[in-house]
């Protein structure tokens, strides 16, 4: 055999064996992902995409996860509630998760803390951790394709690629990251602002542009929820300190325009009087602590009621 053909044959053999191993690894990880504790980040994503069935959902990033006392909201509204927010995962992730939920069932109320600044193109907006569910849901798949390009359809054929970056969490069953104090997805934070932390260090997004892809994903998700009769309410929860004077309003305006178009109320709670100059309610400038949630959740409940009673 010619040396070149011999080499190509060896590489082909390696590729075939790799596909076999990939199939087995994929199966094992699929099974293990089902056993992840819900209190871990990866487990929470798995639950959000595959299992959650509550009529009231709270979604967003860390500010949603730590600010809304789910049980209090559940008791007050008389409907089962669950927080499916994940730290550092923003509009596109949240939209993809909501779409996967809508593929399975129609929740009654969605409280969405999407972050009014999060449409800026320089803000983080990863959907990487949703790769394992690429083939589970068409709408989730289309969001990943929109965000990461058409080549994803080829890459995702490899199970190991689908689980890239998530596999180590699954293999450890995410135990080290599991937070047992999580209650129905809500995780209160303990601690107060200290020293330098009292200075607001929000990223100053100046003269940045609104990400068209992100805006499109957000708009389609809002539209779909409204078409299916979901009551959607947008929130932005308190921040410590005054408004960032350099803030560009484009993202905020784009979100508010979409909401106005589809009749979605927006409660901009960032500068509530109850929280202004009250460092005891904050863990850091952008996150309220456990004490803060006891003040904030009743305000949210009141706002939700006002919408539901209309």
């Amino acid at each position: 055999m010619k040396p070149l053909y011999k080499l190509l044959l060896v590489l082909l053999l390696l590729f075939v064996v790799l596909l076999g191993v990939d199939f087995l690894v994929g199966r094992v990880l699929d099974k293990m992902a089902d056993k992840l504790p819900d209190q871990s980040e990866v487990g929470l994503t798995h639950l959000s995409v595959k299992k959650v069935d509550a009529p009231v959902l709270i979604i967003g990033s860390s500010r949603a996860r730590h600010h809304y006392n789910t049980r209090q909201i559940e008791d007050s509204l008389g409907m089962h509630a669950y927080t499916i927010a994940r730290d550092a995962h923003f509009v596109s992730y949240q939209s993809a998760v909501l779409n996967s939920v809508l593929d399975r069932y129609t929740p009654k109320v969605v409280l969405w803390e999407c972050g009014l600044n999060n449409l800026f193109s320089k803000e983080r907006d990863a959907v990487h951790c949703l790769h394992p569910y690429y083939y589970d849901c068409d709408s989730l798949r289309s969001i990943i394709d929109k965000k990461e390009g058409a080549s994803m359809a080829v890459k995702m054929r490899l199970n190991m690629y689908r689980y890239n970056g998530v596999a180590s969490n699954i293999l450890m069953l995410s135990r080290s990251a599991a937070r047992p104090d999580t209650m129905q997805g809500f995780l209160p934070i303990k601690g107060n602002l200290k020293g330098n932390d009292t200075i607001l260090k929000m990223p100053e997004v100046v003269a940045d542009t609104v990400d068209a892809v992100r805006l499109d994903i957000f708009k389609n998700t809002i539209k779909r929820m409204r078409d299916q009769g979901v009551t959607v309410i947008l929130f932005d929860s308190p921040v410590y300190e005054l408004e960032n004077p350099h803030r560009n309003m484009a993202s905020e305006q784009a979100i508010k325009d979409v909401c106005a178009q589809y009749g979605v109320p927006v409660f901009d709670n960032r500068y509530l009087d109850e929280f202004r100059n009250s460092p005891e309610y904050f863990f850091d400038p952008t996150h309220i602590n456990k004490e803060g949630t006891t003040v904030y959740t009743p305000i949210v409940i009141g706002q939700v009621r006002s919408v539901l009673e209309k």
Partner: protein, 473 residues
């Protein structure tokens, strides 16, 4: 397209198969196809700068011919200076003009005069520092009569634009690489297998060590003021590892890609963190750049055949230039100067013994390695930070603000396993220990090792992540 991109995963095999199946007729066909592939590769990145690449290759080829044809020393020198000015001028415009103007404005500002200069947003053409140096080496070598000029423009253009080394080296040298393009390359199974192993190993250390550590390091440095000195110290140590894994990984992939196409590129790394002195470190780190500076700047300045004081000056100047080659910023300048100064001090401490330190695994050598690693690591602080003030802040915090380091086990575990594998392999290679996996005598072991590395890359590598650190240079 980068060497770890999804596109390259298809590009290289297609080029490889076409090259050996359809274009194997003679060297002209091979060179033409290499040139075409390289241009496609470069245009994939940014087609607008292709003209610049071809201009550099064209002028160096043309002037090389003129220099060789002339017997008049003055004219030869004039021609060399012209081509140097032309190509270095382009480099200076794209890379340094903004820096010089800003320094100028700052200087006036210190004197209380505020100048209003609009900011220059010049986009740096990728790979410009690398291909300019490759092209210039040809003209300088012709001037120094080390190499004969070629009439084969196709071979020359294929040499300057050769895609595996185009973006981040190893910096090609006319004396060593160009003759390979004058003859037809023959396929070799053994060399190709070795090349595949190099590419795989390079991808492993880049994606599983450098990029996964990079996620942690970038997180820390993005919020530097929020972290204590211990965390900054840890981040800095890891950056020392990251930059090695990043650049060595790239170099292995480039050299492996070159071998697959029958072209040998220069070695670029030889386990630099096993160096016992900073002087030795530079014989092991970015070898193609170090030897370029040695041959074209250090030796013409007199090298070490000058007075001690002049030698000290030469050494520091060469390293300052090397620092500035990396980027137009004071941080790079300080980084280069620090290396030069430490080398001068080492020479005073060790004398001529510095050339003859044994490479045995002994306690004194371990201590020397430890000291060298830490000196290099401290210098990297200036290399990594955006400003001198940031670098000083990191150093100050490291020695004053102690506390519990921020560690994310989920993030760390895969990176540390990969790091341990890389370190073990380097250790075994350094001391000749028998730990053969990818090049084991038994095929099954080789096969399984390759398979495991691929699986590890797919599962734990940072696949959609960072560019190579050296791309910015």
């Amino acid at each position: 397209m980068t060497l770890t991109s999804f596109a390259y995963l298809f590009f290289l095999p297609v080029v490889f198969v076409l090259y050996w199946l359809l274009f194997k007729r003679d060297k002209n066909w091979q060179n033409a196809f290499l040139l075409l592939s390289s241009l496609v590769f470069y245009a994939w990145w940014d087609w607008r700068f292709m003209a610049l690449l071809l201009f550099t290759a064209g002028t160096s080829f043309f002037f090389g011919k003129l220099i060789a044809e002339s017997d008049n020393e003055k004219r030869r020198k004039g021609l060399l200076v012209t081509v140097l000015l032309l190509n270095l001028g382009i480099l200076v415009y794209y890379k340094y003009l903004g820096f010089f103007i800003q320094s100028f404005v700052d200087m006036f500002s210190l004197a209380g005069i505020e100048l209003s200069v609009s900011t220059l947003n010049i986009v740096l053409p990728v790979g410009i520092s690398f291909y300019t140096f490759a092209a210039l080496s040809y003209d300088i070598d012709i001037y120094q009569r080390k190499v004969e000029p070629t009439k084969d423009w196709l071979a020359y253009f294929a040499f300057v634009t050769f895609f595996p080394s185009l973006l981040s080296g190893p910096i090609s040298r006319a004396t060593k690489q160009l003759p390979q393009y004058f003859q037809k390359r023959e396929f070799s199974y053994d060399i190709s297998i070795a090349a595949c192993r190099m590419i795989l190993w390079g991808a492993f250390i880049k994606l599983c060590v450098a990029d996964t550590l990079g996620v942690y390091i970038d997180t820390i440095y993005a919020n530097m003021n929020k972290h204590n000195g211990t965390t900054l110290f840890l981040a800095q140590l890891l950056y020392t590892v990251q930059i090695y894994a990043d650049f060595a990984g790239y170099s292995f992939m480039a050299i492996g890609s070159g071998k697959l196409l029958g072209i040998n590129l220069l070695d670029n790394f030889n386990r630099p963190y096993f160096a016992k002195t900073v002087t030795e470190f530079w014989r092991r780190w970015h070898i193609s750049l170090t030897t370029w500076f040695r041959d074209y700047i250090y030796f013409p300045m007199g090298g070490n055949r000058v007075s001690k004081l002049r030698w000290m000056f030469n050494t520091v100047v060469v390293f300052v230039i090397s620092g500035l080659w990396h980027g137009a910023a004071y941080t790079f300048l300080i980084w280069g100067a620090l290396h030069g100064i430490v080398m001068v001090i080492e020479r005073q401490l060790y004398g001529d013994k510095i050339k003859n330190l044994t490479s045995k695994f002994t306690l004194p050598n371990l201590v020397r390695m430890f000291i060298t690693f830490n000196l290099v690591s401290i210098a990297w602080i200036f290399f990594r930070q955006n400003s001198v003030a940031d670098a000083v802040h990191v150093i100050k915090s490291m020695f004053t603000d102690f506390g519990k380091p921020y560690i994310n086990l989920q993030m760390f575990a895969p990176a540390f396993i990969a790091l341990a594998i890389m370190w073990l392999k380097d250790l075994a290679d350094e001391y000749g220990w028998r730990l053969k996996l990818l090049n084991n005598d038994r095929m099954v072991v080789r096969f399984v090792t390759a398979l495991l590395l691929i699986c590890y890359i797919l599962l734990c590598g940072e696949l959609d992540g960072n560019l190579f650190i050296y791309f910015q240079f």
